[in-house]
Symmetry: C2
Amino acid sequence: MDDCIFCRIVSGDLESDLIYEDDDLVAFRDLNPQAPTHVLLIPRRHVSTVNDLGYADAELIGRLVLAGQRLASEEGIAEEGYRLVLNCNREAGQSVFHLHLHLLGGRRMKWPPG
Amino acid sequence: MDDCIFCRIVSGDLESDLIYEDDDLVAFRDLNPQAPTHVLLIPRRHVSTVNDLGYADAELIGRLVLAGQRLASEEGIAEEGYRLVLNCNREAGQSVFHLHLHLLGGRRMKWPPG
């Protein structure tokens, strides 16, 4: 996926403020942060949207959430609180079509969530 | 957890607008909907917050997300788009301390997500 900017971050072709990586996942800071902590967590494998996940991906997506949990702890926001967000398609405002989990915290989050 | 309202929904002790259940998960409509579709998905097992999930729960939490994906499809909002939200602790606005995934759609969601 040469034209996917998140695939280019995964490959190292594009620079990013990387804060975590393992065999399956990569996490980096959002370029347009909406909270004091705003991290994006993505699978290395290109998956366009949540709609493209299958049953076999359950553990992968679960590990994405658990990585968000651990990063929240490392960022020092686990106890005060944090929000995890997945946007799927246009009405949710998904802008990059490589599945990504937003981790936001460090401020009081409002309701509704957008 | 006799004092947990979501455990009471799981047990059938409290009525709810249930739209899905399987051996591990239950989904029902939010009593204070923030979008035309606003569903809560929960594990049957009491888990207070995202912070209380362990490695062994990866598949469970992944299946929670995949159930949200399928319900979005059943609600007719999968293609237009939907947002999935997990709130952890006070600053995220978590109000019921039984882990729950919000599925919101049927309208244009704003940014930031709260």
